[in-house]
């Protein structure tokens, strides 16, 4: 009921906020002194709080990068945990400034919800996790299974498509948060858990006995996950976009949080432009020219963020795969900084 109220409140805010002319998001953020960022309610590797309430994760790093770019301080972020169901209303109503919450970029979301996808910070695809006990090795053996899914996700839709395509039946048990789904899976209410595959690895670490569950090899969909902003504020859209790009570009150029200070003196024209010592910088977006320097210094480049949160320095141990740079066999590719 609280959730419903919250949702209703947000919808009402849409009606009530009417008439007010919209100040630019950048000005609002600067005046407020912090960035308001919508994240998941707890998904290891992407956005989850530790026992002291400090948030970390690949998605959280997007917020930190934007805070570094706009306010010069990556720690000036307020995190709002949102279920999949609440996230878009929260963004539309202005409760948050940006939504990096393992959100899949789709046509409907991009074009009819009044929001714009900024780019992709993780290329994912939907997978299945089952209990080892079942002895299942492929998703094609799942006819008649009961599935725990999260409400309001692309997962719900892909699931229906996949089972229909393969002439199989399933029973969806739809929960609001991944914590509930995990609980349903562990207690045996459902035979399997389905979600974006990276998230399954994350959720698996939350199980009492992670080794009792396996993630099946099938990937049944494309899930490009990326941050989203409200439509209609191009300046803010650009800031979000180029903050994200800066991290990837830094990896490409070999600039990391460890060497960025030394790199400030680099003769390499590409590095010099990225760090704002020459070239266009951030002026045209209303932020400081050294925004990329701030991001790399305080948050790190994409590779650092990836390995720290989901890669080899994390319990998830996910390979770069598609998320490697284009020159390393992946598809991470950003426009040039010039």
């Amino acid at each position: 009921m609280k959730k419903a109220l919250k949702l209703t409140g947000a919808a009402l805010a849409l009606t009530a906020l009417s008439g007010l002319s919209q100040a630019s998001t950048l000005d609002t953020v600067k005046e407020r002194g912090y960035l308001s960022c919508g994240v998941s309610t707890g998904l290891p590797g992407f956005s989850s709080p530790d026992d002291k309430g400090n948030w970390s994760g690949l998605d959280v790093d997007v917020c930190r990068a934007m805070a570094a770019a706009t306010l010069g301080d990556a720690s000036k972020v307020k995190y709002t945990p949102l279920t999949a169901k609440e996230r878009f209303t929260a963004l539309q109503s202005g409760e948050i400034d940006v939504l990096p919450r393992n959100t899949t970029w789709t046509l409907t979301r991009d074009t009819s919800l009044g929001m714009n996808f900024v780019g992709v910070n993780y290329y994912d695809g939907q997978g299945f996790m089952v209990s080892k006990k079942l002895g299942v090795t492929s998703a094609k053996e799942l006819d008649g299974a009961t599935v725990c899914i999260q409400a309001g996700t692309t997962t719900e839709l892909n699931m229906a498509d996949y089972f229909r395509e393969h002439n199989m039946k399933y029973q969806p048990i739809v929960f609001d948060t991944s914590a509930q789904s995990v609980q349903g899976f562990e207690s045996g209410r459902c035979d399997m858990l389905t979600s974006d595959q990276s998230q399954l690895y994350g959720l698996r670490t939350k199980l009492a006995n992670p080794n009792d569950a396996i993630v099946l090899p099938e990937i049944i969909s494309k899930e490009p996950l990326g941050p989203v902003v409200r439509q209609g504020d191009d300046q803010w859209f650009n800031i979000a976009k180029w903050s994200l790009y800066a991290m990837v570009a830094a990896e490409e150029l070999g600039v990391s949080s460890a060497n960025v200070d030394a790199m400030m003196k680099s003769e390499n024209p590409g590095i010099s432009r990225l760090l704002g010592n020459s070239g266009p910088g951030g002026k045209a977006m209303g932020i400081s020219d050294d925004f990329a320097y701030q991001i790399v210094k305080q948050v790190g480049n994409y590779s650092e963020s990836f390995e720290r949160n989901v890669g080899k320095d994390s319990p998830l141990l996910i390979q770069r795969g598609l998320n490697a740079l284009w020159k390393d066999g992946g598809i991470m590719y950003v426009p040039p900084f010039r």
Partner: protein
């Protein structure tokens, strides 16, 4: 005469002021003003909202209702699969809301009346137990109770392979309660016809018995006779027609039981949570209603030689009902509204399906929330109208 006196001083004023001071005219003017203002407010909000939504690039309108939904729903009373429309998801959610509300109202009423009457029992143990029931179930938030049934009770049941079973036909496990479904084959029409005849006979019988009692004072065991009719007639018809009804047994196939009728644990948990919570309030209403009846009524009916149970049934309860019914409708309405807590345990009712998944897949928050609110409003108005009608009927008995 008095009229003349009253109007005499006013004669000097112009007729228009007199008109303004007329309380009738004044009340009409103010009401018109108020309605005008209200209309203005509503229309400003509506135009503002549509303008704003358009400006922000958010699609509006109800076109989405005819688009394909593309997601599955756990339980549906009508045929539904992912190729149906978003409009259909509304129907599915609505029916699931109605299902749990109706079952909840029936169960909470039965339990509530039993506990309420038991609370006043002369038997110390019964009355204490009922008191404890009321205190416990009334004082714990209903959401917690629903979660309790769902997580603490139903989740610890065995897995499908180790189901508890009753005669190999009814099964209980953590995926739900499974029982055989009747399959009506050709010729089962006779059974329904027999059922219809039985009902007609029962109605006739009660009329006749009542008239006979009024005329002669003799009573007739209507209840027992009705029971016999409603069981025996269809049973005879079943034999005569050559046993055209068979049972489809639930069977463990693959991951789950298939066939038969399944009651999902989400429904059971929600139903138990809502009903036991609401029943505690109803019990208190019933107790208050009975307490409100003058003690003299009980003594008088005792003096007439009526037994204790007859006193309760024929004298006390009918009068107590007049006190019980008005708060009862509030209890029912709360039960309906609380059914939206289902979203916490994934029971696919209106808020979970329509305001949850459908809203999220289409993003049309305002339309969907408005439709959902309209549903609860309508359901509650219907309950309220029905209870008013029922109350009026009961009130006629008053002497």
């Amino acid at each position: 005469m008095s009229e003349n006196i009253a109007s005499a001083p006013a004669a000097g004023r112009s007729s228009s002021t007199r008109f303004l001071y007329d309380p009738k005219v004044r009340s009409i003017v103010f009401q018109l003003l108020f309605i005008g203002l209200l209309f203005f407010l509503v229309s400003t909000i509506v135009t503002n909202t549509t303008n704003n939504l358009e400006q922000r690039g958010i699609t509006t309108g109800f076109d989405f209702l005819s688009q394909e939904a593309g997601f599955g729903i756990l339980q549906s009373l009508v045929e539904y699969d992912e190729t149906h429309t978003f409009g259909k998801t509304f129907i599915v959610g609505l029916l699931n809301t109605i299902l749990v509300s109706v079952l909840g109202i029936v169960l909470s009423t039965v339990v509530g009346f039993l506990v309420g009457v038991g609370r006043l029992s002369r038997n110390w143990l019964i009355s204490r137990l009922c008191g404890v029931y009321i205190e416990i179930f009334r004082n714990i938030p209903v959401l917690l109770q629903i979660l309790f049934w769902y997580i603490a009770v139903l989740r610890v049941l065995p897995s499908p392979r180790q189901s508890l079973s009753l005669g190999e036909s009814v099964f209980l496990n953590l995926r739900g309660l499974y029982f055989p479904a009747p399959i009506f084959e050709e010729g089962s029409g006779v059974i329904f016809a027999a059922l219809g005849v039985a009902v007609a006979l029962i109605i006739g019988l009660s009329y006749w018995a009542k008239r006979r009692q009024v005329m002669t004072g003799q009573t007739f065991p209507v209840f027992n006779a009705s029971l016999a009719l409603i069981v025996l007639l269809p049973a005879v018809a079943w034999f005569v027609a050559g046993q055209p009804v068979s049972l489809e047994m639930p069977e463990l196939k693959g991951f789950n039981f298939r066939g038969g009728i399944t009651v999902i644990p989400e429904l059971i948990a929600l139903l138990l949570g809502l009903s036991f919570y609401t029943a505690a309030y109803i019990a208190e209403n019933v107790r208050a209603g009975i307490d409100a009846i003058n003690k003299g009524q009980q003594e008088a009916s005792g003096a007439l030689g009526l037994s204790e149970s007859k006193t309760m049934r024929l004298v006390i309860i009918p009068q107590a009902m007049r006190v019980v019914i008005p708060p009862l409708s509030t209890n029912y309405m709360n039960l309906i509204k609380n059914s939206s807590l289902a979203t916490a345990i994934g029971y696919p009712e209106l808020v979970n399906v329509f305001m949850g998944t459908t809203l999220n897949q289409t993003g049309q928050a305002i339309e969907i929330i408005a439709m959902t609110m309209a549903v609860y409003l309508t359901m509650n108005i219907i309950v309220s109208l029905f209870m008013n009608w029922f109350n009026n009927r009961m009130a006629l008995v008053e002497r």
